[in-house]
Amino acid sequence: MEIMYILIGCSVLLALVFLCAFFWANKSGQHDDTYTPSVRILFDDETAEEVEK
């Protein structure tokens, strides 16, 4: 069952990768503005006929 040590090591490593990813996202300002992108994505590219409110 020595495989357990390797597996646990892998899982912790993977979790650490995600933690680092979060830090990177936070540092690069991805959480600074959590509202505007949700509006931005709804804009049409150019003149469309019916635009919902």
């Binding site: 069952m1 357990m4 040590y5 646990i8 912790v12 979790a15 650490l16 933690l19 979060f22 830090f23 936070n26 540092k27 959480h31 600074d32 503005d33 959590t34 509202y35 505007t36 509006v39 931005r40 709804l42 804009f43 049409d44 003149t47 635009v51 409110k53």
Partner: protein, 797 residues
């Protein structure tokens, strides 16, 4: 049905801003506009192919009735460099604060600025902060032109001295977020490695037990040293000051948790409590984060600098030149135009000065000054441009001194919160129980059990739930207030609000609204004369003319000849062969008539017909509000204005109320102090600079403002004028919020008693702690959030 509704709206409301169209509107492309400003914006957008702006929202614009500000100072490189974020030889990046941002159309328009001007390379809007970050080519588009471009489409950026100085405005939460992330990470992992132990291990799994233990300990270490470091620091500081705050039992609990876990793992006597440690720190950090949430777009610490303009027009031999305020020296000659603020104490050299000091002194009518008189800083010129000579540096002017007055500064408020009050006793009782339990088992002869009981008490009674009850209740209350346009500075201020028993109101601008005016006419006008006055007044965009037009309630389109309007004075025209003169006493050459408020005289052909008096009207719902407050609060009024409306106020306020007039800022402060000395908890509700000292001295200072982006003095809460009538509900709700905190304290105490009953016996298992801690936390969080919202609903907030 929906169609007809839309039609009705289109007829009555401005296509651009949605304001009601009064008198003669403007008409273009089958759309109606309330003013020329709105129509111009529409045209600019139409020509730029930006009609889409009107599709995302109905009436997305902001009213453009107010005159544009002068931005020529942006040409001064000294000022400009202080504003930009980044600049190289080709492009500049600048971040503007634009208060007008309020809907998705705004985002769309501002992010498509490049369509209006190709020299704008990129623009990005942060909706919540109401900021736009714009990258532009400054060789082809100077900063000033960019600002004018924004102003032309109705999005004037707000540029104040405090922007220029740009200090510590950014509330950096990042370290806390990082700590929460690490704590969450360790919490999840350590829980995973604790499960085998909780579920019971088979014989062959036992060999991993110590391995899991050490891994858990490894996860506990960063939580102890990094995530919880603030609690240790705070506990250390509070012990040094001999004050017990809630961080002391928290830090003690965290430390004991780790020590006992380490002890158990190393001696292989148990699995330890690392997962409980991690979850505890994780939850209390979240509580801290919730409590720290602040407003991006409102500043409660504004000082006089944000009231002043960024630059003034200096008169030099080479002509007019805008300079930044800091470069204005004694002896400089400056030009102050209509609606501009006088930045320094100065002597009037040229022009008719009618200075509106309402913000500084509370006096509502403009004061006229003669040549050679000293005009104090902070007043707003109404009328023509005047020339002044500066006699004192800005930092020593009357206004600045008022602000920097030592008496004002001393009052760093220390709010006594419920949690602070409780924690004094909590720690003592906790330690007493722990020592008692340890002693009991030590006497009994089992040292192991004594150590077990002692640590278990400190662990299980760690006031995690208590630490969370206040932040979650109050931040829920904060967001409910926020929704109702009442912006409270921090959570402690809400608790303070609940203790208030005396309310002191200011008059001008607080219980009366600068936006609403009541108009009275003395004299007589027949219908024919009314139409004459109407014909003249409709040509003017002056607010008083608009009020008169509304009051006249007639309609005519008789032609007007030789129309002349002199700003700050009046107007003159010939209608149907009759000379109509409308304006101030001096304009009509009527000697100095003693009058209050703004007075407009009417003369038709050399015959004085009478005069209009304009006064600020009470805010909507004032008497109902006072009625609501009456049973539970002492109500008073302190005004810097004179007492001509005393009779009206006597009817509104209860008979025992003190109504005081002609109070200087220092007297106001003194009054508040007197109330406090009489054992009252005083809330000051004011608006102007003359209330600044009182607002700060009072236990709670609420500034009333009709435009929260505008300057307001330092205070604990800002109330939007619209929500003034809800003030009594706000106070009642704050009391309920504190009630919720008390109730959740009861619940967390209940959990503690259950836990303690096991702990003092020295038989607490890690599993028990691991279950009790999160359950109590979740209970508290959901209870406080639900109860707070339920109370809010009851108050219809």
């Amino acid at each position: 049905m929906a169609v007809t509704k839309e039609k009705v709206q289109q007829v009555e409301k401005c296509y651009h801003c949605g304001d009601k169209i009064e008198e003669t509107g403007y008409h273009l492309d089958e759309h109606d506009f309330c003013c020329l400003g709105c129509q111009t914006v529409y045209q600019v957008l139409q020509n730029g192919g930006m009609q889409q702006y009107y599709r995302y929202n109905q009436h997305p614009g902001k009213s453009n009735k107010e005159k544009q500000a002068d931005f020529s100072y942006l040409d001064e490189p000294q000022i400009a460099t202080k504003l930009v974020d980044f600049k190289d030889d080709k492009m500049t990046i600048i971040t503007f604060y634009i208060p007008a941002i309020h809907c998705s159309s705004c985002i769309w328009l501002l992010e498509n600025l490049y369509k209006l001007n190709p020299n704008v390379l990129q623009s990005r809007v942060d909706f919540m902060k109401k900021q736009a970050s714009i990258t532009f080519n400054h060789t082809l588009l100077p900063l000033k032109d960019l600002v004018y471009l924004l102003a032309n489409i109705g999005y004037d950026p707000k540029i104040t001295l405090q922007d220029v100085v740009k200090e510590g405005n950014k509330n950096n939460l990042n370290p806390l977020v990082a700590k929460i992330a690490v704590a969450g990470f360790c919490f999840g992992n350590s829980m995973l490695f604790s499960f085998p132990d909780y579920f019971g291990m088979g014989a062959f799994e036992k060999e991993y037990a110590s391995f899991f233990g050490y891994i858990n300990l490894a996860f506990g270490l960063p939580v102890l040293l990094y995530c919880a470091s603030d609690y240790f620091k705070s506990a250390y500081v509070s012990l040094k000051q001999k004050r017990l705050n809630l961080d002391v039992p928290l830090a003690l609990g965290i430390l004991v948790l780790f020590l006992r876990s380490a002890f158990e793992v190393i001696t292989q006597t148990g699995a330890g409590f690392t997962d409980t440690l991690c979850s505890l720190v994780f939850f209390i950090l979240i509580g801290k984060w919730v409590q720290q949430r602040t407003y991006y777009h409102i500043s409660f610490e504004r000082d006089y600098r944000s009231y002043f303009p960024v630059a003034v027009t200096l008169l030099t031999e080479e002509g007019d030149k805008p300079v930044q305020l800091a470069d204005v020296h004694i002896g400089d000659r400056i030009l102050v135009r209509n609606n501009e603020i006088i930045p320094a104490d100065a002597i009037l050299l040229k022009g008719d000065a009618a200075i509106d000091f309402s913000f500084v002194t509370g006096e509502s009518s403009p004061v006229s000054k003669t040549l050679g008189e000293i005009i104090y800083a902070g007043g707003r010129q109404t009328g023509e441009a005047i020339e002044l000579e500066v006699i004192k540096p800005i930092s020593q002017s009357y206004l600045t001194k008022l602000w920097n007055n030592e008496n004002y500064k001393d009052y760093d408020k220390h709010f006594q919160t419920f949690v602070n009050f409780i924690s004094k006793y909590f720690t003592v009782v906790l330690l007493a129980i722990a020592f008692f339990a340890a002693l009991y088992w030590a006497v009994d002869g089992s040292a192991n059990r004594a150590w077990g009981a002692f640590t278990a008490v400190l662990i299980i009674a760690c006031p995690c739930a208590l630490a969370l009850s206040s932040p979650f209740t109050l931040s829920a209350a904060l967001s409910i207030f926020d929704r109702n346009k009442f912006y409270v500075k921090n959570t402690a201020a809400i608790e303070q609000m609940a203790t208030i028993d005396t309310l002191v109101f200011d008059k001008t601008g607080t219980i009366s609204s600068p936006k609403a005016t009541s108009i009275y006419f003395e004299g007589s006008l027949n219908t024919n004369e009314k139409t004459l006055v109407y014909a003249v007044c409709r040509n003017s965009s002056h607010p008083l003319s608009r009020e008169i037009v509304k009051w006249l309630d007639v309609y005519s389109d008789v032609p007007v000849r030789d129309f002349k309007e002199l700003p700050g004075k009046g107007m003159e025209a010939i209608v149907e062969g009759q000379v109509v003169k409308i304006g101030s006493a001096s304009f009509l050459n009527i000697g100095n008539i003693k009058s209050d408020g703004s007075v407009v005289f009417i003369r038709v052909d050399e015959e004085l017909k009478g005069y209009f008096t304009m006064e600020q009207a009470w805010r909507d719902g004032l008497s109902a509000l006072i009625e609501n407050f009456k049973p539970r609060y002492d109500l008073h009024l302190i005004s810097g204005d004179n007492d001509r409306r005393l009779d009206a106020l006597k009817l509104i306020f209860p008979s025992e109320a003190c109504l005081m007039f002609n109070q200087s800022p220092m007297e106001k402060l003194g009054r508040i102090q007197k109330f406090q000395q009489a054992g009252k908890h005083v809330c000051m509700i004011g608006d102007g600079l003359n209330d600044a000292g009182a607002l700060r001295k009072a236990d709670l200072g609420i500034a009333v403002s009709d435009d929260i982006n505008n300057f307001s003095p330092g205070c604990d809460a800002i109330l939007d004028g619209e929500s003034f009538s809800k003030l009594s509900d706000f106070f009642a709700f704050s009391k309920d919020a504190v009630k919720v905190i008390h109730m959740s304290f009861g619940i967390s105490l209940l959990y503690n008693i259950i836990g303690l009953s096991f702990a003092i016996q020295g038989i607490m298992s890690p599993l028990f702690a691991a279950i009790l801690m999160p359950i109590s936390t979740v209970t508290i969080i959901s209870f406080t959030s639900l109860m707070t919202r339920w109370y809010a609903k009851r108050h219809k907030l």
